[in-house]
Symmetry: D2
Subunit: 313 residues, 4 copies
């Protein structure tokens, strides 16, 4: 397993064909990703439409990614449910099919009751009973809830809590955390727009929707910051910023899947109620991708919605 | 089954004992409720902690309520999941174990993608494929999302969409809906604080967390408005207002369960991560209940967390 | 002066011609309003663009309304500034030129510091030092701030605080207030969409933007509720609901001014940065006004932006 | 005057004594600031309690700062009012008493009407008619309004719009702006918590409340980033982060004034309705300041609120 985590992890989309999970497309996406120096993969994150899948599909997705990824790659699985018992149960099932880490979203339905103390209790109990180390997951844009800094800091010493994925985009929060948390507490950025800034402040890496269609570029930001070539890292971040703000933050999963199709991966349709982007948005995405000069297309993609199109070498 | 819906429905809590669904306590609660002129029951609403249960438990809860309720009572079950297919599947399972209507919450995880058109498509498809009529469910305090009035109005003519439960507390919205929707489109108030005002504007009834611990009082508001005794109806609404604002809106499910225990039903503990109220809040709830002079205690409750206490006759 | 306040008050717009305050148009508007059984006028409310005027203009506007209104009419002036001293100073100037009551908005720039205690202190000090009784003013849509119920209740006994104008549209809050406040504490509804519901709960009247272009209709709601003809009152409220939601709540001051022009008053242009509505919105407003069958046009309006148009008799 | 702006500007507090503007304390604060390599001063920003002052006091404050500052220092004055005409008028008065630049906040009272187009028109007209160059000012925490990126970008070429102060703390926005705006368009950070990150992305400097009580430290962050000593710059940012989050963002102006008193400047009381911090918060601030090892005290302050007496002669 994995002592520590760092580097870039795409928050994988889940391929569906005719409405069903397509293990073959998932496998084929991973095979392409393997050519890039990613540290591993997040399966079943928000971008993975986890909330739209059933448990059987979820476990099958983890299994497929584990089987398709090379051995050194770290597999993180989104395992958070609304109930403590549900989260523990699914986390251990996920561990059984190959997850190295569990990414556990803040429960969010009963927002007013989710006080710092309640969330602290929740993560404690999950961590106690989980067979694999957990990462807390703060994603206010989906949950309508902020994981209080107080709760995070009180949990940094727990032996089975490895770290935090923060998708708030709040750089002040990240700075406070890097100041207050032990250095081996892992902080992974979830907002692709602030990857560069986060790494500059000491974040160990990122779990990013953006890394689906800009995997090589996000890896290069990580490498360049580590190598001290900040000018280059910043330049790439700037090149990606509009892409991320529009495709990930505005168009969401349907936009990300469209972008995947355009850069040579399998994106396909999201699962309803999500709907594929319309022609106008698709046009915008094509334009953004061209503008950003996205490479990161590790070989031609034989078939697909946009097959035989301009992007292939 | 039921041609139309009106009157008062408690949004039932789900009793847990030692963490597990207690069918016997659920049955015993229903038996007490049966002495009051409720129109039926909502199982698996927000107050029912539906999001904290698994599908097996959910179906068992519906079955238990159906079996415990008298025949004339309408059983509404919360069946909305995040995915269209998940909602359809569970709705039909619920129909199979006795649900008369399905209450279908707006999908809410991918908030930005939940446009009026997407929500309209969602409800259309669910309604097409559901064996029982559905009620749309708008509850921004939990979902962080408003069901747009435009989407509601466009769906009022669908033969398998019976109506809407609106928990926004927004009386202006309700007024617009009553103006624009056909008279047989059912609008049920979900916010106990504005029951009287909603009935005055033509809402057909309410599905209320408040009706758990004030069932007779909320039924009386309904009856008095219908009978034209508005002074009395208003007086009761005023008597209940602080109770509802504090217990339902501030303390939430743990508060409602505590109140249930205090008035002679079985409340018990919520399921984690929800936590039972602490002693201070319990004291506040006791005080509020006394203040409101809550009757609606149909006979002594033999055992329970607060047994042998002052509340029993 | 004024023992108590009740009934309907239009929240007057301020007429500008070539960018300057037009006392003659203000006078002429008041003369038309005088034919309707309004209780008085609010000058310098939000709808009056008070924040866009200087102190000289503000005082002139109060003076003009006082001089144009018949003696029995109560003149309320918006006098709240951000600083305590500024509010007191302007309130007493307003009293000097004829204001009977001062409407004092919650200070809102430093939102986080505006705790219940701070707001309580603020209103206390203003009330102590004001020569005329004050009304507190809660308008979250403009201030981004809720006046806490706790602060309101603690101030109901102050001899120089006459009441509250609440524009939150929150009927639950109003119900709690009517329950907790002395009966002579005046609560005036500021949201035209919930006027009927508020009066049914005991609110003494309304100070309404809607009463600019539907003065007779809003007065009739008030009269019918008092006379017990609730069916009629509700019917008018329903007829006005879309009008209010669109014109007042969506299009704002520019929409209200356009509507005024259409029903025979002088509306004119708002002061920049506000901009007159465009042709499309004007069309929508015309349509809404026709749809609602707005009467309340006490005689033809000889000239103006829409002169010789279809609305005149 | 000033070709371009860069570096660190404290967003000055306004000293009051017995409730009135104290020119002598303002002068004395500036004299102390002059020992630090600040680029200039912002008078009448949010921190300056500008909304609590009258125009006479405002002009006097600008005059005093201009007279007390050395010649090379750039004086920026907050001049934004709610109305276009009010802003233009006051901006030119400010220019007349020595302001080099005008900081113009987004009008915010009529939030819904403040569309991108309306704000663009507003800034255009103000810039046309202003004798000095203007900086746009985006501060959602006070205004409840975001200045749309589209409006900003469309204005970057205006000859009399020098740049933007952005206090949103949104690093993604800043990245997009740095990508899209001409290099001579000045972007100044207004959120002290993200100064380091902003400078790393190309922001030209900061106008900061934090620079009141940590002037030397914030200047050092600027210098170290320019000198390439990023480790040192980051270290100082981390040292200041809690201070800024608590004192500036949580306690606000009263907290900043308390901190000023503690580090040797004159803070004094805020103007009501703002209230001085209580003993508990004062204790927290003392602790935070000690913890952060704040130097930046250019010489002992002989007396003061927390020593012998209150205010020096």
């Amino acid at each position: 397993m994995s002592a520590s985590i760092s580097g870039i992890f795409p928050a994988l989309t889940t391929p569906f064909e005719k409405g069903d999970l397509s293990e073959s497309q998932l496998k084929s996406n991973i095979e392409r990703f393997e050519k890039i120096r990613l540290s591993g993969y997040l399966v079943l994150g928000s971008t993975g439409e986890s909330v739209l899948m059933n448990d059987g599909e979820r476990l099958k997705a983890i299994e497929t990614v584990r089987a398709s990824a090379s051995e050194g790659k770290t597999i993180i699985a989104g395992t958070g449910m609304q109930s403590t018992r549900g989260t523990i149960e699914f986390t251990n099932l996920a561990a059984g099919v190959g997850a190295d880490y569990a990414l556990v979203i803040t429960p969010y339905y009963f927002k007013k009751q989710m006080t710092a103390q309640t969330l602290e209790n929740y993560y404690c109990e999950v961590a106690e009973k989980s067979r694999i180390p957990i990462l807390m997951y703060n994603v206010p844009k989906f949950t309508g809830l902020d994981l209080p800094i107080k709760a995070i800091i009180s949990l940094t010493d727990h032996p089975n809590i490895a770290g935090l994925k923060d998708s708030s985009g709040n750089i002040a929060l990240l700075t406070e955390l890097k100041k207050s948390c032990p250095t081996d507490f892992v902080i992974l950025q979830g907002a692709g727009s602030v990857l560069f800034s986060s790494l500059m402040l000491g974040a160990q890496g990122g779990i990013l929707a953006l890394s689906n269609f800009a995997p090589a570029e996000t890896v290069e930001i990580f490498q360049m910051v580590n190598a001290g070539d900040l000018e280059r890292a910043r330049e790439i971040q700037m090149r990606l910023i509009t892409l991320n703000e529009k495709i990930v933050n505005t168009f969401g999963v349907p936009g990300i899947k469209c972008a995947l199709d355009l850069v040579g991966f399998f994106g396909g349709d999201p699962r309803p109620p999500l709907q594929a982007v319309d022609a106008e948005i698709k046009g915008t995405i094509e334009h953004l991708i061209e503008d950003a000069g996205l490479r990161g297309r590790p070989g031609p993609r034989p078939t697909g919605r946009f097959k035989a199109s301009k992007d292939e070498a």
